[in-house]
């Protein structure tokens, strides 16, 4: 089991090793000339500005929304909580397609920030809302008793306790901003990822693309370090025994109308615009845009790829997850940390590495479904690991011992007890991966063999031809596909909090 886990981890390190290898073999002069040039500077400024503007905005919106839905007497709080998560069902590039359709002039930094914020704020909303539900209201009571007014209580007693959730969500947003291709390409805002894909597609200039990838990886690393800093020294334990009593909801009073206005505005921007755009394109396109052959083909291929990818990823993650729960030694901690960092590698970097390796070393793999599936496994392994780990932790080790004392062999025990108990969580993790693959664009664009078209790539090629109407059915199908995923995420965050 350990050797399997190590093998998986070594494979997962392949793209990273490739980047380092490339950098080392490129030669100092070439590397310097490719990295220290005007273009890279521009991209860097774009990226930094995007992160610096979008992340705080996402956090502010998410915290306000979370407080309103969890802690105020807002009418229909449950419904609004749903709307806070629902934007996750709209893939980023569909969101940006909707905005471009409605406001054809949108472009550049302003557009990029606007669309990213409405797309990604749920990544912060989910953990913050979960954390807010978990907070012990006794701390707030104590703060008020010490003479703090309601605003001071929020900023000095509540907000610090949300820190981990906010920082964690912000990291996710930041990494998505770095890795996203479709969203920014559509509104013509250049980031490292779009530049790498352009470079790759126009000239297949391996070295130049790889140097850009280097800088991109450094950006991710910087983000991770920043997160480590901002996270502080860990959690805040609840003091004393007993379960926390449910918090009182604050009365909004005269603030009700402004609060509702804020919520309605967020919903209009994040959900209203895609819904209206899709509806308009579908209405305008009529029957003509429903080319069922192409649609059916793309759907079928997407399904096959998602199922295969999800199954493979889960299989690869299982031994590592099991070991890290049951035998948390130094080696396993190292492997886990390694996957945590690999989880930050953008899809475009992984894809680029796999293409180049295939071309140079294993040509038969070039443009095969196997290579694409391998990329999916690498891309989604860290996420699968997290959810499988959590579900294995649900099956107490005591039950494994009991099973052994009743005469079941270790393998039989894992099969009939551990996996049986962890199954719901493992399937949820599999579904998350599968649905993630359904809307994956960047790696699929670079790696898909000729003739393989997923919903995302079809959609993408149609919008590239500016046939927005014909792209609409694909967008609708991806959104419909992503709804269960969104529901799953929502339920998971509820369950964690309801522990």
């Amino acid at each position: 089991m350990t050797s399997f886990a190590v093998a998986v981890s070594l494979l997962a390190l392949l793209p990273f090793g490739f980047i380092i290898w490339e950098t080392l073999t490129t030669g100092w002069e070439t590397a310097v000339s490719l990295i220290f040039r005007r273009r890279v500077g521009e991209l860097l400024i774009n990226t930094l500005l995007l992160e610096a503007l979008a992340i705080p905005l996402c956090c502010a919106i998410a915290v306000a929304l979370a407080w309103l839905t969890e802690r105020s007497d807002l009418p229909g709080a449950r419904f609004w909580a749903w709307l806070g998560v629902a934007p996750l069902a709209v893939p980023a590039f569909v969101q940006s397609y909707a905005w471009v359709s409605m406001f054809p002039g949108i472009h550049g930094l302003g557009g990029g920030v606007l669309v990213s914020v409405v797309t990604y704020f749920p990544f912060v909303y989910l953990p913050v809302a979960a954390q807010l539900r978990q907070l012990d209201p006794a701390i707030e009571d104590a703060a008020s008793a010490l003479g703090l007014g309601p605003w001071a209580v929020f900023f000095r007693a509540v907000l610090p306790q949300l820190r981990l959730a906010i920082v964690g969500g912000a990291l996710l947003v930041g990494l998505h901003l770095l890795a996203e291709y479709g969203l920014f390409a559509m509104i013509r805002f250049d980031t490292f990822t779009t530049a790498i894909v352009d470079q790759f597609q126009s000239t297949f200039n391996g070295v130049a693309a790889n140097m850009l990838a280097d800088v991109l990886v450094l950006c991710c690393l910087g983000l991770l370090l920043l997160e480590g800093r901002a996270r502080g020294d860990g959690g805040y334990a609840r003091v004393g025994g007993g379960s926390a009593r449910a918090a009182m909801r604050k009365q909004l009073g005269v603030w009700l109308l402004p609060a509702l206005a804020l919520l309605v505005m967020i919903c209009c921007l994040s959900l209203g615009i895609p819904v209206i755009t899709l509806y308009r394109w579908l209405a305008a396109g009529g029957v003509a845009i429903w080319d069922f052959d192409a649609l059916g083909g793309a759907l079928g291929q997407t399904l096959v790829l998602s199922l295969a990818g999800a199954a493979l990823t889960t299989l690869a993650a299982m031994p590592l997850a099991w070991l890290s729960v049951r035998a948390p030694g130094r080696l396993h901690r190292l492997l886990e940390a390694c996957h945590y960092y690999l989880g930050a590698l953008p899809g475009v970097v992984i894809a680029l590495a796999l293409v180049t390796i295939a071309v140079r070393v294993a040509l038969p793999l070039y443009q095969t479904a196997a290579n694409l599936l391998f990329a999916y496994v690498l891309l989604f392994l860290p996420r699968a690991l997290v959810s499988i780990r959590a579900s294995i932790a649900q099956a107490p080790v005591e039950l494994e011992w009991t099973s052994a004392s009743l005469g079941r062999s270790p393998m039989a025990t894992i099969w009939t007890v551990t996996l049986r108990l962890a199954a719901p969580g493992i399937f949820a993790g599999m579904a998350l991966v599968g649905m993630g693959i359904t809307t994956e664009l960047t790696a699929t664009l670079l790696l898909a063999p000729t003739g393989v078209h997923t919903l995302a790539t079809r959609f993408w090629s149609l919008t590239s031809e500016l046939d927005y109407a014909a792209a609409a059915p694909y967008a609708v199908m991806m959104v419909v596909w992503s709804l269960p995923l969104t529901f799953l995420l929502y339920m998971q965050s509820r369950r964690v909090a309801g522990r």
Binding site: E398, W401, S403, A404, S405, L406, S409, P410, R420, L421
Partner: protein, 343 residues
């Protein structure tokens, strides 16, 4: 023949020796209680015997078969040792019947009959077989756990504080039931507990564990009346310790001259009595040993606090609330049986 033989068993976690050079024999068909304060290594010892972890040093033999020694480790599922843990550890995804039948093999011919028998044995209604563990009370869960462990007719049964999560009244009933079921099945048993009363009443033999070391083993009476260390004396029950001068078969102390088992010792030492050896009699101020200065009421019994003239700290004696003298009464002690020298 001994069913279980431990020889010099040691298990360390980091620098802590959770089990330190423990040797113990458990005879066939007997009940042994391992008792010790929380953290003394009881659970670790059971886990080593069950085979969930290997010992660092020492040898474990069951029915003469070596199951753990340098280089030889028989895995838990081949040891045929039954385990019942503190919270039962029932499989939440199986019904009660499924839990009991877990170790039997799915197609065993008499599976259903066995399950019915075992439900009877642990005094559970047959209808309970179809229920899920989460619908059971704590006591019912423990009964199912016991039935499940018995189903395979283990060579040895290990019980890790199986009663400690139950409330006091249920504990007595369960203890009697478990003792009867194990006797009927003739199963050799090791019970681990931090409750000395439970150990003394349940077992034929008691072993006291302290900081991972086995400090004394013997019959319950032996340990209670003839402890070989102050720790064992104090752990197995309340003691009244008094400085005394031994003169032949008498000890001269704050209670006057009392009979003592001197075992040849003489001179100044500390003797001890169990509080139930003391009787308080109200008397006149002249020939009293001391005076009642306080009293703690606990229903049927009261703890009476008596200040002795010469001694700085007062004595505490538990007695029937009916007889408890009021505060201020001069009292005299009558000592039943003999005092012992505190080792």
């Amino acid at each position: 023949m001994s069913t279980l033989t431990l020889t010099g068993i040691t298990k360390r976690y980091g620098s802590v020796a959770a089990v330190d050079n423990v040797s113990l024999k458990v005879e066939h068909g007997t009940r042994t209680a391992v008792v010790g304060p929380s953290g003394s290594g009881k659970t670790t010892l059971l886990r080593l015997i069950a085979g969930f972890e290997p010992p660092e040093a020492g040898c474990i033999a069951i029915d003469g078969e070596v199951v753990a020694d340098q280089g030889v480790i028989v895995p838990a599922h081949r040891r045929s040792v039954g385990v019942v843990s503190q919270h039962g550890a029932l499989f939440p995804h199986l019904t009660v019947a499924g839990n009991i039948g877990f170790g039997m093999g799915r197609r065993a011919k008499d599976r259903d009959r066995r399950i019915a028998e075992l439900l009877d044995a642990v005094e559970l209604p047959q209808a309970m077989g179809g229920r899920k563990p989460r619908d059971l009370s704590g006591g019912e869960q423990q009964r199912v756990a016991l039935a499940r462990a018995l189903a395979r007719r283990p060579r040895l049964m290990l019980l890790d504080e199986p009663f400690s999560s139950l409330d006091t009244s249920l504990r007595e009933v369960m203890r009697a039931m478990v003792a009867r079921v194990l006797d009927d099945a003739g199963t050799t048993t090791v019970l681990v507990t931090h409750d000395q009363a439970e150990a003394l009443s349940f077992a034929d033999r008691v072993a006291v564990l302290h900081r991972g070391q086995l400090v004394q083993a013997g019959s319950p009476q032996d340990l209670y009346f003839r402890p070989q260390s102050p720790m064992v004396a104090a752990f197995l029950g309340d003691i009244v310790a008094l400085p005394a001068v031994i003169e032949g078969d008498l000890a001269v102390c704050a209670l006057g001259s009392i009979a003592v088992t001197a075992d040849g010792r003489a001179g100044t030492t500390t003797i001890f009595l169990r509080p139930e050896q003391l009787r308080l009699v109200p008397t006149t101020a002249v020939d009293s040993d001391g005076e009642v200065i306080g009293s703690g009421f606990a229903g049927p019994t009261s703890t009476v606090i008596v200040s002795l003239g010469k001694r700085p700290e007062p004595l505490r004696v538990r007695m029937s609330s009916q007889d408890a003298p009021p505060v201020g009464t001069p009292v005299k002690f009558v000592v039943l049986g003999k005092a012992r020298i505190l080792p």
